[in-house]
Symmetry: C2
Subunit: 350 residues, 2 copies
């Protein structure tokens, strides 16, 4: 099939060929005067499949030449082409008229004339920065338009990992609040001990702490939360003096500089009736249960980050891969002055 390169498009003028290529794979955009206009991604893909011969002012434009031209026209062409090509080869119809996104993709077997868009897809280099703010915005837009958001991340060898991103907090069934009164603990370095069995109610009501014999050991974050709820008083080991919540938080922050950030996410999840424990073994801040941790596996891994957090995709890749390996969902909790917003990321194969 012949096509003419004009600017950044390739025009296929022959009516019969144009309708065949449009109707079979939904390549190109039909023109008012008949024929179709292919964008460079489409043209290069069809050229690679030996279905298109491109000419410019009468002379043939080779595949390497057309790639070079596209790369000059758009600095991220290489990344977008790798993703476009992969999705096409997986049998999807992929179109570039996708608003804020790179591509819209139809469900397998679906077409623009019969079905709604299923996925918004962005093609991303592993070297591109990851901004949590953008990710929240994109996932909210996808949510509002009832489509799934896929991030197709291209590594330096051209392999693609697909991530599905979705907005929304983890949730648990509501549990009745119990007023159990206050118990007393003492601070031992970076943990708090509630001794002689007096901590039992904290463990049975909310699964706080870890019982070691008749001692209940609480983490700094559990302690601050329980102090705020009025269920725990802390005394210093040396003087026996009582500590206020503010003094305790200050102490905790001196031990763990991001204490306040974690605390905000912890409080938010506890208020949602989730049971929150440290995720250290998984290299995340929290592992989160929607019920009794002694007879459930944790469903979520949650990492608290500032709402303006920026990192590299390799860090995201690591977190998602790990969660996938232990059959949990990873959520990033973006903590701002006003709110905690959650984004869930999953690896998937489209």
């Amino acid at each position: 099939m012949p096509g003419d390169l004009i600017g950044d498009s390739v025009l296929v003028k022959d009516q019969a060929e144009a309708s065949q290529i449009y109707n079979k794979g939904f390549y190109g955009y039909p023109q008012s005067g008949g024929g179709i206009e292919l964008d460079l991604l489409e043209a290069i893909f069809l050229q690679e499949c030996d279905r298109l011969v491109v000419s410019e002012e009468g002379s043939v434009v080779s595949h390497p030449e057309l790639i070079r031209k596209a790369a000059r026209a758009s600095p991220d062409f290489g990344i977008r082409y790798i993703v476009y090509r992969d999705l096409r080869q997986r049998g999807y119809v992929v179109k570039s008229d996708a608003g804020d996104f790179d591509f819209r993709v139809f469900p397998r077997g679906g077409t623009p004339s019969t079905t709604q868009t299923k996925y918004w897809v962005n093609a991303v280099s592993e070297r591109a920065p990851f901004h949590i703010r953008d990710m929240i915005k994109l996932s909210q837009t996808s949510d509002q338009t009832r489509k799934e958001l896929l991030l197709a991340v291209v590594d330096e060898e051209g392999d693609i990992t697909y991530y599905q991103a979705a907005a929304g907090a983890p949730h648990a069934p509501k549990t009745a609040k119990v007023d159990e009164g206050e118990v007393e603990g003492f601070l031992l370095e970076d943990r708090v001990l509630v001794m002689n069995g007096t901590g039992q109610s904290l463990h049975s009501q909310g699964f706080y702490g870890k019982p070691i014999g008749r001692t209940l050991q609480l983490s700094l974050i559990e302690t601050a939360h329980l102090m705020r709820l009025g269920r725990l008083i802390i005394r210093l080991p040396n003087t026996g003096r009582k500590m206020g919540v503010a003094a305790f938080k200050k102490k905790a922050t001196s031990i763990q500089s991001d204490f306040e950030l974690r605390m905000r996410a912890y409080d938010d999840m506890r208020e949602k009736d989730l049971v929150v424990k440290t995720g250290f073994k998984y290299g995340t801040h929290f592992r989160v249960y929607d019920g009794d941790p002694s007879n459930h596996h944790s469903r979520y891994l949650v990492h608290a980050i500032p709402a303006d957090y920026e990192t590299g995709w390799p860090e995201i890749s690591r977190a998602v891969r790990l969660a996938h390996g232990v059959k949990k969902d990873i959520l990033f909790a973006a903590v701002s002055a006003k709110s905690v917003e959650y984004v869930r990321l999953r690896r998937m194969r489209p």
Copy 2:
């Protein structure tokens, strides 16, 4: 069994009781005048097990009191006690006379009088910094003394993850070097394309690049390595001008700021006949094969870090957990001006 608190020790003077506790669990250190001297870890553990009543100048010292005393005497007592207690409860004989390490631990069923120390153990808070330099030194010392090095990392809830650290590079069977001559590629953004089938020898000899149809796509790091070996020439897409190795490295560093660091580790492993590919999917720098990547799984994940690298244990925990989940070993490659040194970390249950 009664014992007297004197300074930071508890003395058990009764000969019969002293020999029984020493011979059964190897608690304490025998004294010249008979009896044994328990250190505070031992005394608190025996007190917790209701096997010891501690007195000071005639009055009983309670369990909470003795813990507070120990915490005042040594700021990391809490962490060390959690590990000591765990190893004892797992049935190991644990002694604190361990030189540069916190503990020496005998093989299960072994004792100081019958067997050699099996493990050096250091008790570490998850909040302690991780210095790669220290880790290399400790693992080399362990290697020289033919013992295994365990890092017992205590998380904020008092749970322990044991890591085994060992020095040494990954290795592969030697392969014959082949001189295949030079081919030509062109730089497209952050990758290099060798077109029209001319890159085939690079892929068949050394498994460089990724074939996409008749195009071989090389990563920046593969490109720099092959240029240095004299197997590849690069031309710029716009001008067709030839690029030198130095100019290419400069360009690569502008795209990926830690290019030089990765390059050093990559070159070192390639010189050891390993096949090195990106580890992006695992959130590490490299996945490493000791043979043909098309019919082996990669054995190693390798992360390149500067020789003076310092991080937190949660990052180490994440990397080891991930590698464990995909049945690979994680190695940290510490890159200095002179050398690349490797430390392998594995999760284990003693």
